[in-house]
């Protein structure tokens, strides 16, 4: 269960101050699948980064599964993030020097999971994303869809409670995009909470609920069944 109250985010550069988020109130229940939509520059990524504990809000409160995190240090956030949140990005963000297998293994290494357990879980995740046969390839040797499946495998391997995805289909064709959305849907069916930013109404259709942002504010919320 996560909850934000009057979340603010200000970016100040030398000349201008940008209000990226302007009083966001938002609840996400366990097991929910939420899509965030809105025009470019309205603050979607900013919100997702804060929800994902990658950034601090300028003001407001953020309750993350019972912990107040809005004013935590970077170090505390990193500790909390570890193992509890999985990320999927538009541009995949795989490490080029590591193979598919090694990329997926990475979160478990940082969690100090014992080797056998690690192997089991990495293989499970690869199996599930159907990229087992590519386990020893490097990211550049894969198609965009395969790269994104690897990224999702990496996001789920530590069995996080929450997965955050920022335009996961943005760099993919419709077929690969569809596949990725199905995988996210399956994960959600198994109980993982998912928050996804997207520009595609079709993709948003996979979610239970759509939050529309405009100029850093929540304008509407649509519920599906």
């Amino acid at each position: 269960m996560i909850q934000t109250i009057n979340l603010q985010k200000l970016f100040s550069t030398e000349e201008v101050e940008t209000t990226a988020l302007n009083g966001i109130n938002m609840d996400v229940k366990d097991g929910e699948f939420v899509a965030i939509m809105g025009p470019s520059g309205c603050g979607k990524s900013t919100l997702l980064n804060i929800l994902g504990l990658l950034d601090n809000p300028s003001d407001g409160d953020y309750n993350f599964y019972g912990t107040e995190v809005a004013r935590m240090t970077e170090r505390q956030r990193a500790q909390l993030r570890k193992g509890s949140i999985g990320f999927v990005f538009q541009s995949f963000n795989l490490i080029d020097e590591l193979t598919v297998y090694e990329n997926v293994e990475l979160p478990l290494l940082y969690l100090k999971t014992p080797p056998e357990e690690r192997k089991k879980r990495v293989e499970e995740a690869l199996e599930r994303m159907s990229i087992m046969h590519r386990r020893n390839h490097f990211p550049q040797q894969l198609s965009g869809g395969q790269q994104q499946r690897t990224a999702i495998a990496r996001a789920v391997v530590a069995k996080p409670k929450l997965i955050l995805a920022d335009e996961p289909t943005g760099n993919l064709d419709s077929k690969n995009g569809e596949e990725v959305m199905k995988l996210l849907g399956e994960l959600n069916d198994e109980g993982t909470t998912i928050i996804m930013v997207t520009h595609s109404p079709y993709d948003a259709g996979f979610a239970h609920r759509i939050v529309n942002l405009f100029d850093g504010k929540v304008v509407t919320e649509n519920f599906h069944v």
């Binding site: 170090r75 541009s91 020097e97 940082y110």
Partner: protein
């Protein structure tokens, strides 16, 4: 986890092959260089420390007051040793021996000149050398026994095949004269021993009356102090020896001791005290070694830092999937330590490869002893230091970045700190390179000056033959000389006691009517035979050379201009003087010529005409006919002196050997200077490559907007050239100071001039420009479409 780091480290090494190889190779080169110098320094510092109880062994010199200063005699008169043995209870043992003589050793058909000493009985009381067979102490006490080293034993008695016991009792003939029985075999002396000989025979075997006088200083004296006796106590106890025993003219002598472990490095005495010597070179090279290492490390850091920018994405991803800052720091540090480990291994390999050549050039026996824990300790420290220094910046800086910023693809803002740091490093290493270039030029120029300087005498085409055997007999010698002069290939020949480019003997005995009794006159002196000035082509400003047909000349003298000045004589020819040959007249004044190395100013010189006190026949050959002349001399030598092998040397070689130390320094400066420049260039090259890469997009855009190739090259090169100019400004005063100091050790020198700095600066700029422009041109020629697409 660590395996994951290693994997990443290895793969990023492989991915950027150019950077990685520049980086690892540059560091390895620097390490190899400093390791080599380190070995050399260690060897220099280890001189004579192999001797058992080395701390208690001391070398004896004698100080004399001279016109308000103190001069130090580095060799001692014969009776001093006896006086010390008798009267100084602080001394456990004392020995003297003559200055390393080469004597003919003959066993059956094998005959060659070998270096050895005639030493007094207590030699082994002072030097407890390792023995392979026999009892050296007892053997030295015997008048008919000889002690040889392993080298001689193997050379003259090969049949004994390493069983040195069997060498004992064998006989060998010394100087074609007396036969000696081998009484003991010693282990060879290591190259880091100041003591160098292959045979020892009892002192009495060659002792002559003049060796028993206080006025003749020719011998090396060494003492071993009793346990718990200090150098000061022993010197105190020796203070009264000269006043008590040495007699008139010498009563002011004060023996001074120098620990034998300082003998090699601190041999220069000024005003009665050790003022250093070779240690200066050791220090300079130790510093150079450190600087080269520093440059290499700096490059390594520089490149590692520059390269780390490309690792930003990886850092961001790692953070997002759960890496804490500490684990990232760990990763970058272990990576850079791994790289420096690789460099160390490479460096060891390099040293191992070049060591044989190095040993050959510098006459050393340096070894890379892998069993030595110290080596490993140093290597470990080196790995850790370079690893930490080079890894710390990326580790601390990159790990502190916020992942969202990195992943958003924001161009990494390295800020002005690191850029300034990188620039400072470039300036630093180019300063050092310029410094070394100046050093190379100045030392080279001085060496050239030494080689080509007109000494006031001819040293080209002068051959000298040591006089021994039959031709050492004065009567026979003169016939021999006359015969030599009759050869058409030979211009002239003369005999001397000392070689005229390195006159060592000096005396305070010169007097003349009307001499100021307070004036001390220390003059260099030489015994010469007929035709000396003619053979050496020395100009006579006044008077004439000695004449064999004039019996009075045996007590007449020739002086040089400096001597005339010292004696304050306007018109010295015909004036009466008293010196070693008795009272006679000055018959000639020579134009000053250099009678020592150019470190020393020309001293007053007096020539005595004496055909008996001679060691060498000096022969001036006709230019271009030296080969034939040597063949003729060989022929005559066989005829006049059949029992001795014909040996000859060139005065030129003797002259150059005066500068052996400088020659070595010259070689070292050249090699290491080039290496330092090479390493600096590698660093600059890598950095330029990095900059060009970082600015690929900018270059692409500029080209699309119409910039020409030369615009781009200029843009990329100008930054670096500015840095080199700053380096030039910084290095110039430092190099000026250091080289002036070095040149100051020469009484005659080619002073520094501004063009040297100009050349050094131009060279550095040229090198830097070439290094950078390769990258700049490559970047400038790149198709802008590719560079823009890569974004």
């Amino acid at each position: 986890m660590f395996r994951n780091y290693l994997k990443i480290a290895f793969r990023s090494l492989m991915k950027n092959k150019l950077y990685s190889s520049i980086n690892v190779f540059g560091l390895a080169l620097g390490m190899a260089c400093s390791l080599l110098i380190g070995l050399w320094v260690k060897d220099e510092l280890s001189y004579d420390r192999f001797l058992k109880d080395a701390e208690s062994i001391h070398y004896v010199r004698v100080n004399f007051p001279y016109n308000g200063e103190t001069v130090t005699n580095n060799i001692t008169p014969g009776p001093l040793q006896e006086a010390i043995a008798k009267d100084v209870p602080e001394v456990a043992a004392v020995t003297k021996f003559n200055w390393g003589d080469e004597r003919l050793i003959k066993v059956g058909e094998t005959a060659a000149k070998e270096k050895g000493h005639f030493a007094t009985d207590d030699f082994f009381g002072v030097f407890d050398l390792p023995v392979l067979a026999g009892k050296p102490k007892a053997a030295l006490a015997q008048p008919n026994q000889i002690i040889v080293t392993r080298k001689l034993a193997e050379k003259y008695f090969p049949a004994t095949a390493g069983q040195y016991q069997l060498v004992l009792g064998k006989t060998l003939q010394l100087n074609n004269d007396k036969f000696y029985v081998v009484g003991a075999v010693l282990e060879n002396l290591p190259t880091n021993s100041t003591l160098q000989f292959d045979w020892l025979v009892n002192w009495k075997e060659q002792e002559q009356d003049w060796m028993k006088t206080w006025g003749n200083t020719s011998f090396s004296t060494y003492v071993r102090l009793k346990p718990k006796t200090t150098l000061a106590q022993a010197e105190m106890a020796m203070k009264d020896i000269y006043p008590r025993l040495a007699g008139k003219n010498f009563e002011t002598g004060v023996p001074v001791l120098q620990p034998i472990t300082d003998l090699h490095l601190y041999a220069d005495y000024k005003n009665g005290q050790s003022v250093g010597g070779r240690i200066e070179y050791v220090r300079i090279f130790a510093i150079v070694a450190l600087f080269i290492l520093l440059i290499a490390c700096i490059n390594f850091m520089n490149l590692a830092t520059a390269q780390s920018a490309m690792r930003a994405k990886e850092v961001g991803v790692r953070k997002v999937v759960g890496a804490l800052r500490s684990s990232l720091i760990g990763q970058f540090l272990s990576e850079s330590i791994l790289t420096s480990l690789l460099a160390v291994v490479l460096a060891l390999g390099l040293v191992w490869c070049v060591l044989p050549t190095f040993n050959e050039v510098f006459g050393k026996q340096l070894t890379l002893n892998l069993a030595e824990p110290m080596l490993w300790l140093i290597m470990l420290v080196l790995v850790l230091i370079t690893g930490f220094l080079s890894g710390s910046y990326p580790a601390l800086f990159l790990s502190s970045l916020q992942p969202i910023k990195i992943l958003k693809g924001v161009r990494l803002q390295f800020g002005s700190g690191p850029a300034l740091f990188r620039r400072t490093l470039v300036v630093f290493q180019f300063s050092l390179s310029i410094f070394l270039i100046v050093g190379m030029l100045a030392v080279g120029r001085q060496m050239n000056y030494l080689r080509t300087k007109n000494l006031g005498l001819d040293r080209e085409n002068v051959v000298y033959i040591p006089l021994e055997g039959e031709i050492a007999n004065p009567k026979k010698l003169e016939t021999f000389r006359q015969e030599v002069m009759r050869q058409p290939t030979i211009v002239s020949a003369t005999t001397t006691m000392a070689l005229p480019v390195n006159v060592q003997g000096s005396s305070g005995d010169l007097s003349w009517p009307g001499k100021d009794p307070n004036l001390q006159t220390n003059v260099s002196c030489m015994f010469v035979g007929g035709d000396f000035t003619k053979t050496m082509n020395i100009k006579l400003v006044d008077g004439r050379d000695f004449n064999l047909d004039s019996p009075a000349d045996s007590s007449n003298y020739i002086i040089n201009e400096t001597a005339a000045k010292l004696m304050q004589m306007k018109d010295p020819v015909g004036k009466e003087v008293n010196f070693w040959m008795g009272t006679g007249r000055i018959i000639g004044v020579m134009k000053d010529f250099h009678l020592n190395s150019l470190h020393q100013a020309i001293t007053p010189l007096i020539l005595c005409f004496d055909g008996r006190n001679t060691s060498y026949l000096l022969v001036k050959t006709r230019a271009g006919q030296t080969q034939q002349a040597v063949a003729d001399l060989n022929q005559l030598s066989k005829q006049f002196n059949p029992n001795y092998p014909f040996t000859y040397h060139f005065i030129d070689e003797e002259y150059e050997s005066l500068y052996r130390s400088e020659q070595q320094v010259h070689t070292l400066v050249n090699y290491f200077g080039m290496l330092a420049i090479l390493i600096s260039c590698l660093g600059l090259f890598g950095l330029a490559a990095f900059t060009a890469e970082q600015r690929t997009k900018e270059i692409g855009v500029r080209k699309v907007l119409g910039a020409s190739v030369s615009n781009i090259v200029g843009l990329l090169s100008i930054d670096f050239l500015k840095l080199v100019l700053i380096a030039l400004v910084l290095a110039t005063p430092l190099a000026w100071w250091a080289m002036s100091k070095w040149l100051g050790t020469f009484a005659y020198r080619e002073d520094l001039s501004w063009w040297i700095f100009g050349v050094a600066g131009t060279l550095a700029i040229l090198i830097a420009f070439l290094t950078v422009s390769y990258q700049s041109i490559k970047a400038a020629l790149m198709n802008p479409v590719t560079s823009l697409r890569s974004e």
